[in-house]
Symmetry: C2
Subunit: 253 residues, 2 copies
C-alpha cells in the first residue's frame, strides 16, 4: 500500500507558528480530514479534497483517514496545537489498533506542533519554568473522580498545571470545581492565567490571583494555567506583568 496518514499539528493558529515540516506535510496531502475550523485554516489548492467534520467523532474521523490511505491516498489529519496533546493522534492509533490488520503497515507519521500551553506560556513569560502537568478537565472520557484525584495529587506536589478543555456548554461547572479544589490547597495569591485563542485575531489573556479566578474567565478556546507556589509576577509600568516560575525549589514539596 502506498497511501499514508500524517497527523499534522497546526499550532495555536497563526500560520507563522507552524513548523516547516508540518507545512510540507500539508502541501503533500491529497485529502484533509479534521474538525472544520482546523480544516478551514489550510489554504485551498487544486486537487486537495477536504473532509471537514464535527468535533465529537474523533475515532470515526481516524478510521476514515486510514481507509482513504489504504486506497492509496495521502491523508493529512489536522489538529490544532500538537496532535499528540488532547488531539487527534491518540484517536488515530486507537483506530489502528482496533481496525483492519493492514492498517498497521500504512505509513503513519505525526508532525508535532506548538500546543496551546506552550503558546500561552510564551506570551505570558515563562510560567512553565518548573515541573508541570497537562490535564484535560473534560469528564467525557474519564470519570470526574479521576480528574479530581489527579488534580489534587499535582496540586499537593506543587506542579504548575495546564488545564485543557476547561469548560464548554455541556460541561459548565467542572472548572469552578477545579478552582475551588485549588483554592483549598494553594495560597490565595497564586497566579492563575487564562489564555484564549493565542495568536488568533480574538486572542485574550488574563492573569488573576487564585482568589479572583472565576470560571467565567474561560471558554472552550482557553487554556488555564494554575501557577505553583514558585510562580511569580513581575509588574511593569503600563503593561501586563510578566509571569514566570522559578527554576529552583528550596524546600520539600
Amino acid at each position: 500500500m502506498s497511501g499514508r496518514v500524517t497527523v499534522v499539528g497546526l499550532g495555536p493558529g497563526d500560520p507563522s507558528l507552524l513548523t516547516e515540516s508540518a507545512r510540507r506535510a500539508l502541501d503533500g496531502a491529497t485529502d484533509l480530514i479534521g474538525y472544520f475550523p482546523y480544516v478551514a485554516r489550510v489554504p485551498e489548492r487544486e486537487g486537495l479534497v477536504r473532509h471537514a467534520s464535527d468535533n465529537r467523532v474523533e475515532v470515526d474521523r481516524a478510521r476514515h483517514a486510514l481507509s482513504l490511505a489504504a486506497q492509496g491516498r495521502s491523508v493529512a489529519v489536522v489538529s490544532g496545537g500538537d496532535p499528540g496533546v488532547f488531539a487527534m493522534a491518540a484517536a488515530v492509533f486507537e483506530a489502528v489498533e482496533q481496525g483492519e490488520p493492514g492498517w498497521r503497515d500504512l505509513a503513519i507519521t505525526v508532525e508535532p506542533g506548538i500546543t496551546a500551553m506552550l503558546a500561552a506560556a510564551a506570551r505570558l513569560g515563562a510560567p512553565l519554568g518548573g515541573d508541570f502537568c497537562a490535564m484535560s478537565l473534560s469528564d467525557n472520557l474519564k470519570p470526574w473522580e479521576v480528574v479530581t484525584a489527579r488534580l489534587e495529587a499535582v496540586l499537593r506536589a506543587d506542579f504548575v498545571i495546564a488545564l485543557y478543555n476547561p469548560i464548554s456548554s455541556a460541561r459548565p461547572w467542572q472548572l469552578g470545581a477545579a478552582l475551588d479544589l485549588a483554592a483549598g490547597i494553594r495560597p490565595a495569591e497564586t497566579p492563575v492565567m487564562f489564555a484564549r485563542a493565542i495568536s488568533r485575531p480574538d486572542e485574550a489573556i488574563r492573569v488573576a490571583t487564585l482568589s479572583e479566578a472565576d470560571s467565567a474567565m474561560a471558554d472552550m478556546a482557553t487554556v488555564v494555567i494554575l501557577g505553583a507556589t514558585t510562580t511569580r509576577l513581575i509588574p511593569r509600568e503600563g503593561k501586563p506583568p510578566f509571569v514566570y516560575t522559578l527554576r529552583s525549589v528550596k524546600g520539600v514539596a
Copy 2:
C-alpha cells in the same frame, strides 16, 4: 530603549521543525546568546555577533542578553526545544526580576518551539495521549526529596511522565532511582520510552518494558517517557511498535 530580547525555541534539532516565527526572530537578531551547540545551529551571516557559552551559567547569560538589549541591540537567546520548558526563558525573567529596573521596559518576547517530549511522542505514536507531566530529574536546582515526592505523586495518579535531564556524568544514579520508584508502583510491562536526539543525525529510540528499563539506555540528550497504565503498544511486522496512550480512563486512578 529600542533594544529587544527574544528567547527563541530552536526545536529538537532539524531546521524543518523550527516555526517560521522563530526563524524570523533569528533573522532579525544582531546578537545570538546561548549554549554553544544551540548557537552553532544558527547559520552564520554578516553582522550577526555570536556569544556562545557553557551550559551552567543560565542567569549570567540572561543578564548579558538584557544588558546588550539595554544598549539597543536585538538579542536572540537560543534554546533547544521550547525555551519555556527547562530552558532559558525562566532564567531570563529571573534576571529581569532581580536586575536593573529599566530592563522591565525592554521588549522581551518568547518564541515557542517543539519541546523534546513532543518531538519524541510524535516519533513514537501518541504516548502523551492522556494526562501527562514534565519533570526535570536534575537535583541541581531542587532537593532530591522534592523530585521523588513529585514523581511518586504522579506515578500514583497514573500520569504519563516525561523526564527531562534524566542523567549526566555529575548525576549518574538519579534515573536508576526514579525507575526503581516507578517499578514499585506501575506494572512491570509498562512501556518506557528512551528518545535520544530526535530529528538529529544521531537520533535513537528505544522502547522497553519497565522491568527491562535501565538507566544505561539514556544519556544527556535523551528524554525518557514513562507510560501510564493506559499506554499501549501496537506491534508491527518488521518495524518498531507504535506506542500510544488511551484517551479514555475507565476506573478511579
